[in-house]
Chain length 354, copies 2
């Protein structure tokens, strides 16, 4: 068990009690992640008897897990303001492990608002970053892009958006392996003066940061799937609207396809021929492949797995976290910001725009 805390290991803390079928799905997810990443060690927080019973099913996993018993856990309907006052939950303890330097990242499939609140409280925002954001990987026609903020900040100013661009750029480099990610601000028109003032301010700041950021300007949502940008930056309200519109439309189309196939005798005959193609399509759009929304901008990585995902989906969230830890994502953001005074740049930009 001592090896868990050895410095050479990549250690991730796990809230075993979050998500619809916890701790079963969580532990199965760890077993999958362990198979592909034997070097990761887990600090697992939750109801010890239940967690142990699940881990016992995977002897190999057992060796890389240290289980910490917690009596309590966060419920889906718990309010963030309430949750941050209870230090005895599995979620709180798991985040605390990152704060104490015992783990480098935390993964939870629990209540999003609660995880965000606890993570902000314990990990604190990186110096020079004003607001953390939620980022996720999404599919486009030829591959993947990242989008932020997906809902952490309902209202954002130009400086917030510029910081999201900086963090999204590093995230895309490490997560997608793109050397010079194309960074764009989401807007309702491509022309310079279209949309909101804060977006224009952000564009001004980004152009002047000399960060070697490959800034390509504004992008409209219907262009995003056409492989036009690798990082899409938005305020949390618009980003969330875009994300959920994509989700709703995908489901609508899939349901409409099923409906029209059902109503067509011929289509039912043709259906067996389509299985291979449909399987491939489903694989591209499989939400499990994009599981693991991350809170970026904090002194430590906090990853939210979808509450309804399965073991494979949870393992993807764990691997996303591991990938960023290996690249020292948090340290990279700090270094990137070392020589930049975003506040000053923001003042200049506001002067230009307004």
């Amino acid at each position: 068990m001592e090896q868990v805390l050895s410095e050479n290991n990549l250690v991730i803390s796990i809230d075993a009690m979050g998500g619809d079928k916890s701790p079963k799905v969580v532990i199965e997810g760890l077993a999958l992640a362990h198979k592909r990443n034997p070097d990761i060690r887990f600090l697992v927080y939750g109801d010890k008897p239940k967690v142990t019973a699940e881990i016992d099913k995977f002897p190999a996993l057992k060796d890389v897990c240290q289980i910490f018993h917690t009596e309590e856990f966060v419920h889906n309907e718990d309010k963030p303001s309430h949750v941050i006052r209870n230090r005895e939950t599995s979620m709180y303890k798991a985040v605390e492990a990152v704060k104490n330097g015992e783990a480098m990242a935390v993964v939870s499939a629990g209540n999003t608002g609660a995880l965000m609140a606890i993570s902000k409280l314990l990990l604190k925002t990186i110096q020079k970053i004003h607001r953390p954001a939620i980022i996720s990987i999404m599919p486009h026609i030829n591959g993947r892009y990242v989008m932020l903020d997906l809902g952490a900040n309902t209202e954002c100013d130009g400086i917030n958006l510029a910081e999201f661009a900086i963090m999204g750029n590093i995230f895309a480099k490490y997560s997608l392996g793109i050397e010079q990610p194309r960074v764009a601000l989401m807007n309702i028109g491509a022309e310079e003066m279209k949309g909101k003032g804060e977006i224009h301010v952000a564009a001004h700041i980004i152009k002047n940061t000399h960060l070697n950021l490959n800034f390509i300007g504004y992008i409209e949502p219907h262009e995003i799937p056409n492989d036009k940008a690798d990082v899409v930056v938005a305020d949390g309200f618009s980003g969330n609207i875009a994300l959920k519109s994509v989700e709703g439309t995908s489901q609508l189309l899939m349901r409409l396809i099923k409906k029209s196939v059902k109503q067509s005798f011929l289509a039912k005959i043709g259906l067996p021929f389509m299985f291979g193609a449909m399987k491939k399509l489903k694989k591209t759009m499989d939400p499990r492949l994009y599981n693991g929304a991350m809170f970026v901008g904090l002194n430590g990585l906090s990853v939210k797995s979808h509450g309804g995902t399965d073991a494979f989906g949870f393992s993807i969230a764990v691997e996303n976290a591991a990938r960023l830890v290996r690249k020292d994502f948090v340290g990279s953001i700090r270094r990137e910001l070392e020589n930049i005074d975003l506040d000053e740049l923001s003042q200049e930009a506001c002067y230009e725009v307004y």
Copy 2:
């Protein structure tokens, strides 16, 4: 020709020079609309020789058209501020016909910003309405809903959103034939305090208007396709983001389906069996069926047809306009607002929310 101006006729003015293939597509669209609606008469503005040459192809249409020559027309790249100063364009003249009471609605497939600017300038906003909005019909799993604002107002306060709800409600009644449309405010959560302040204010105002508005609260974008609301109200920025995300995702999925079918030998064999089902799906999602975004809140109807649509799409936009004229849409909004003091309600609501 005199019959064109007779009071018993439903008269619509047409900007014949807007859109990608004008005036050809526009006139072919009128011919289609005429076949299904022989009572509509058209005032057609544009290059007379060109327009006449097209109309001559449809002898029946000829009888219900009056052509007015204009030397100039609005280009796609023209700025609204520039366009409103030129009174000699086909678009300006067509809108002016509504202002002068010669027509009850105008349809143009030209530059959206220009049509909006000219329409606002000439038709003016309905008394008691603070901001006109862009509304359109969209598909959900079982039928159709309406959504506004789709981009006329980048920033909105609570009172604007409440007005959109009132106008959207009447629009859904007349356009979709729904007696008690379910009206919802688009938001990033279903809980009362989620999202932006102006949305909370709007909810307060709507609850207190005693309009017999069937207000169902907040709706998240992924729930919209599930037949949960008939009227979705949003600020113009978020509405436009949602609309374009839906558009982008539909296109992405269609392209991914084609891609995976292409790469599968079996799928190619099965493809002929699928034609019927795919045709049905295409018909449900056919953007031409939803053509005709309308500026609501003005003293007269102004309809923007998609610039790239074909004759069938243009005819749908014309029919949408005719349907609302027949129901006296503009008069209905005025009557609905007669006994309401939205400004006062807004002050009360702001006091409650902030």
